[in-house]
C-alpha cells in the first residue's frame, strides 16, 4: 500500500512536471515570436483554463485553442469568423474629401516605402492620392518619396529640407482641397519616442491637420518593423499618448520575424493592426487579416 501511494505520486509528479514543461515550451514558442512574457502568459492562462474546463488533453486541440485565443485578441474579443469580427472596419476614410492619413514611427521601420505602397493601394481602388513629404529632416527623404510619386504619377507637396513639417502638411491639404483629392498621405520623419521635442512636433502636425479639416486625421498609423522586439510596445504607448494612434502597419513581414509584438500591442494597448507589408515591391501591401497572420505565427 505504501508502495502504491509512492508510485502514484511519482507518476503524478512526473505527469505534473511534464505538463509544466509542456506549457513552458509553448510559452517559449510564443516568446520566440516576440509576443512578450505578459501576453504569452495571458494567452496560456486562457488556454489552460479552457483545457481544464473541457478536459482537453490533445496537442492538436490545444494548438487550435491557442489560435482561437490569439484571434480573439486580434479581433477585439470577437470569435473568429463571427459576424462581429467581420464587421470590424479595415480602415477609416472620411465622407468629405480629402481623407487625411498620417504615418508615424521610429527611424528605419519603412514609413516612406509604406506611404508609397498605400498610395498605390488606393490608386488601384480608383482614388486620387496626394503625398505630403513631411519628413523634412532626413537627407534625401523627399527624393525617396518623390521617386515613388513619379513612378505612380502622383502629386507631391514638399518644402526645403529642414523646414517646418507643419507647413508642408498645411500646403498639402490646401492643394488637396483645390484639386479635389480623395486621400492625403503624410510621411513624417522617423523619430525616437524618447525624443521629447520631436514628439511635440508630431502633436503640432496633428493640430495643423485638425485646424485645416475640422477634425483629427482619419487615420494616424504607427509603422512597426516586424523585426522589433518588446520595445515596440513602448513605442506604441508613447506615440499613442502623444497623438492617439488609430492603428498599426506591420512592415518587413517577408523576413524571418513574424511580428508577434503586434499581439502584445493589441492586447495591452488595444491598438489594432490595419495593414501588413511584405516585400520591396510597391504592391507588397495588404489589409491585415487576423486569421492569415495567426496561421503564419504557427507555420
Amino acid at each position: 500500500m505504501q508502495r502504491l501511494i509512492k508510485n502514484i505520486s511519482l507518476i503524478w509528479n512526473r505527469f505534473k512536471k511534464s505538463n509544466e514543461d509542456f506549457w513552458l515550451e509553448i510559452e517559449e514558442q510564443l516568446i520566440l515570436n516576440d509576443i512578450g512574457v505578459k501576453t504569452a502568459a495571458f494567452i496560456i492562462e486562457e488556454v489552460k483554463n479552457h483545457c481544464r474546463k473541457e478536459n482537453i488533453n490533445d496537442l492538436e486541440q490545444i494548438k487550435l485553442l491557442l489560435k482561437k485565443y490569439i484571434l480573439e485578441i486580434l479581433n477585439d474579443g470577437a470569435a473568429a469568423g463571427s459576424a462581429k469580427a467581420s464587421a470590424l472596419p479595415d480602415y477609416n476614410l472620411s465622407n468629405s474629401i480629402p481623407s487625411v492619413w498620417m504615418l508615424v514611427g521610429v527611424n528605419g521601420v519603412g514609413k516612406t516605402s509604406t506611404v508609397a505602397k498605400l498610395a498605390s493601394f488606393f490608386q488601384n481602388a480608383g482614388k486620387n492620392v496626394l503625398l505630403a513629404a513631411a519628413d523634412t529632416f532626413r537627407a534625401a527623404a523627399y527624393e525617396q518619396l518623390d521617386h515613388f510619386a513619379e513612378q505612380l504619377d502622383l502629386p507631391i507637396v514638399h518644402h526645403q529640407r529642414g523646414s517646418d513639417p507643419g507647413a508642408v502638411v498645411y500646403d498639402s491639404i490646401e492643394k488637396a482641397v483645390a484639386r479635389k483629392i480623395d486621400i492625403v498621405l503624410i510621411d513624417t520623419a522617423g523619430r525616437m519616442h524618447t525624443a521629447y521635442n520631436l514628439m511635440e512636433e508630431l502633436k503640432k502636425i496633428k493640430k495643423v491637420i485638425n485646424k485645416k479639416i475640422g477634425r483629427d486625421p482619419d487615420e494616424i498609423l504607427m509603422v512597426i518593423d516586424a523585426t522589433t522586439g518588446q520595445n515596440a510596445k513602448h513605442q506604441a504607448a508613447i506615440f499613442n499618448e502623444a497623438v492617439g494612434l488609430s492603428g498599426i502597419i506591420l512592415t518587413k513581414t517577408d523576413g524571418t520575424s513574424k511580428g508577434g509584438i503586434v499581439l502584445t500591442v493589441k492586447n495591452e494597448l488595444k491598438i489594432p493592426v490595419k495593414f501588413l507589408t511584405f516585400g520591396e515591391k510597391i504592391e507588397n501591401l495588404e489589409v491585415f487579416n487576423a486569421e492569415k497572420f495567426t496561421d503564419l505565427l504557427f507555420s
Partner: protein, 445 residues
C-alpha cells in the same frame, strides 16, 4: 540605453538588498525575476536559459547562501556573467598594413547602415586623423545614394558614386578610384537585405570576394527582437563579419539583442550609435553597459565626460557656496553650462545611478528647451541681480521677462525653483559627507 533592463534589476536588487541573508527560495525568486527581465529585454530565450544556469551554478558554487552579504554576491555574479555575454567589447579600428583599409557595412533594411557609414567615417576621421571616403553601393533604395552623398559632403568625406551598374562593380571601381585619390580608409555602404534572400546575400558575398574588405561590420538595430540571433548567425555564415555596430541605442530599448547576438556569434560589438547627430557614435564598453544593467548607471562614462568639462577648482568653490548659502545666479549659470557640455539632459540622466528611473522619467520633462529658457532669463538679469537674486522685484521681473522673451510667470517660477534648489543642495551636500556610500549603489567601487 539599456534603461529597461537596468530598472528591472534595480527593483530586484533593491528587494534583495534589504534582506540580511538569501534563502534558496530567494535565489530561485531572483532567477525567475532575472529570466523575466531578460526575456522582456529581448534576450533570446535560449541565451537566457544558459545565462541563468551559469548564474545559478556560480551562486551555489560560491556558497552564496552562507555568505554575509549574499545580495552583493548575486549582483557580482550577474554582473560578471553579463559582461561575459557581452564579449570583450568594442574597440579600436585595426588598420591595414598598407592603406587603404577597406571596411564594409551590411545588415537588414532600416537598421541605419547609411547613417552608420557617415558616423563611422566621421569618427575615424576625427579620432585617427585619416583621410576617409565612402562608397555608395546601395542602388535599390530610392535616393539612398543622395542621402549618403549629402551627409558625406557636409562632413568633408569623399563619396564614390557610379550610376547604371551593379553594386559589385561599384564597390570594385570605388575602391580602385579612392585608392588612387589617396584614401586611408574606405567604407562601403551596402543595401539593406534579408539574411534569407539568397540572391541579395550572394551579391554581398561577391562584393566581399572581389574587394576583400579588411573589416566587415554587421549593422544591427538595438530594438531587434528574438530573431536577432538568427539574423546575426546567418549574416555571419555568409560574410564572416568582424564586428557589430549597434544602432538606435538612443531609444529606451532594453537592448537584450546585444547580449544574445554577441553570445551566439562570438563577435564583438564594436560601436554603438546613440542619436540623430553624426557625433552620436561611440566605442562599445561591455563593462559600462553591464553596470547600467545592474543599476549603477553608466557612471564611468559620466565621470569620464564630466572630467573633461568640469573644472575641479570651480566645482569646489561651488560646493563651498552651497554650504555657506551663498549661491547666486552667476555660479548657477556657470555650472549649468559645464553640465550641458556633457550632453543633453536626457543623456546625462540616463547615465546616473538612480532608482526606478523609468518611473521617475515618466513625470520628468527632460527638455533642453526649458534649459534654454532658464539661460535666457538669467542672461537678461543685471550682474547685480544675478549676484543678489533677492533684489528682483516686480518691475525687475517684468524687465527680465521682456528681455528674455518669456513671461513674468516664467521668471517667478525660476526664482522659486532657485530658492528650492538652494535649500535642497544644502541639505544634500550636508548629508553627502556623512554617509560614505551614495544611496542607490548596490555596492561600492
Amino acid at each position: 540605453m539599456f534603461d529597461f533592463l537596468t530598472s528591472k534589476f534595480e527593483d530586484l536588487f533593491y528587494k534583495i538588498r534589504n534582506k540580511g541573508k538569501l534563502s534558496p527560495q530567494d535565489l530561485d525568486g531572483a532567477l525567475r525575476e532575472i529570466r523575466l527581465a531578460l526575456l522582456e529585454a529581448d534576450v533570446n530565450f535560449k541565451v537566457v536559459k544558459e545565462f541563468l544556469d551559469n548564474v545559478k551554478e556560480k551562486a551555489l558554487g560560491e556558497q552564496i547562501l552562507e555568505s554575509l552579504s549574499p545580495s552583493q554576491q548575486v549582483v557580482k555574479i550577474v554582473n560578471e556573467e553579463i559582461i561575459k555575454m557581452l564579449g570583450s567589447g568594442g574597440g579600436e579600428i585595426v588598420f591595414a598594413g598598407k592603406p587603404p583599409t577597406v571596411i564594409m557595412l551590411a545588415g537588414l533594411q532600416g537598421t541605419g547602415k547609411t547613417t552608420a557609414t557617415i558616423k563611422l567615417a566621421n569618427y575615424i576621421k576625427n579620432k585617427y586623423q585619416r583621410n576617409v571616403s565612402v562608397i555608395a553601393a546601395d542602388i535599390y533604395r530610392p535616393a539612398a545614394t543622395i542621402q549618403l552623398a549629402d551627409t558625406a559632403k557636409k562632413y568633408g568625406v569623399e563619396v564614390f558614386i557610379q550610376e547604371n551598374t551593379d553594386p559589385v562593380s561599384i564597390a570594385v571601381n570605388g575602391v580602385d578610384f579612392l585608392k588612387k585619390s589617396g584614401s586611408d580608409v574606405i567604407i562601403i555602404d551596402t543595401a539593406g537585405r534579408l539574411q534569407i534572400d539568397t540572391e541579395m546575400m550572394d551579391e554581398v558575398k561577391n562584393i566581399r570576394k572581389k574587394v576583400m574588405p579588411h573589416q566587415i561590420y554587421l549593422v544591427l538595430d538595438a530594438m531587434t527582437g528574438q530573431e536577432a540571433v538568427n539574423i546575426a548567425q546567418q549574416f555571419n555564415e555568409s560574410l564572416a563579419f568582424d564586428g557589430i555596430i549597434m544602432t538606435k541605442l538612443d531609444s529606451d530599448t532594453r537592448g537584450g539583442a546585444a547580449l544574445s547576438v554577441n553570445h551566439v556569434t562570438k563577435k564583438q560589438i564594436k560601436f554603438i550609435s546613440t542619436g540623430e547627430k553624426v557625433e552620436d557614435f561611440d566605442i562599445f564598453y561591455p563593462d559600462r553597459i553591464a553596470s547600467r544593467i545592474l543599476g549603477m548607471g553608466d557612471v564611468l562614462t559620466f565621470i569620464e565626460k564630466a572630467e573633461k568639462v568640469i573644472d575641479e577648482k570651480k566645482a569646489k568653490e561651488f560646493e563651498q557656496k552651497i554650504l555657506s548659502n551663498d549661491l547666486n545666479f552667476v555660479d548657477f549659470l556657470e555650472q549649468m553650462k559645464s553640465i550641458r557640455k556633457i550632453g543633453s539632459l536626457d543623456k546625462i540622466f540616463a547615465m546616473l545611478p538612480i532608482q526606478n528611473k523609468s518611473k521617475m522619467l515618466a513625470n520628468v520633462n527632460l527638455d533642453d528647451a526649458q534649459i534654454n529658457k532658464v539661460e535666457a532669463i538669467i542672461n537678461s538679469m543685471t550682474t547685480e541681480e544675478k549676484l543678489k537674486p533677492f533684489l528682483i522685484n516686480g518691475s525687475r521681473k517684468k524687465r527680465i521677462a521682456s528681455g528674455s522673451g518669456t513671461t513674468t510667470n516664467d521668471v517667478n517660477r525660476l526664482l522659486k525653483q532657485f530658492a528650492m534648489a538652494q535649500q535642497t543642495l544644502k541639505q544634500f551636500s550636508g548629508r553627502g559627507h556623512r554617509s560614505g556610500q551614495m544611496k542607490g549603489f548596490p555596492f561600492s567601487f
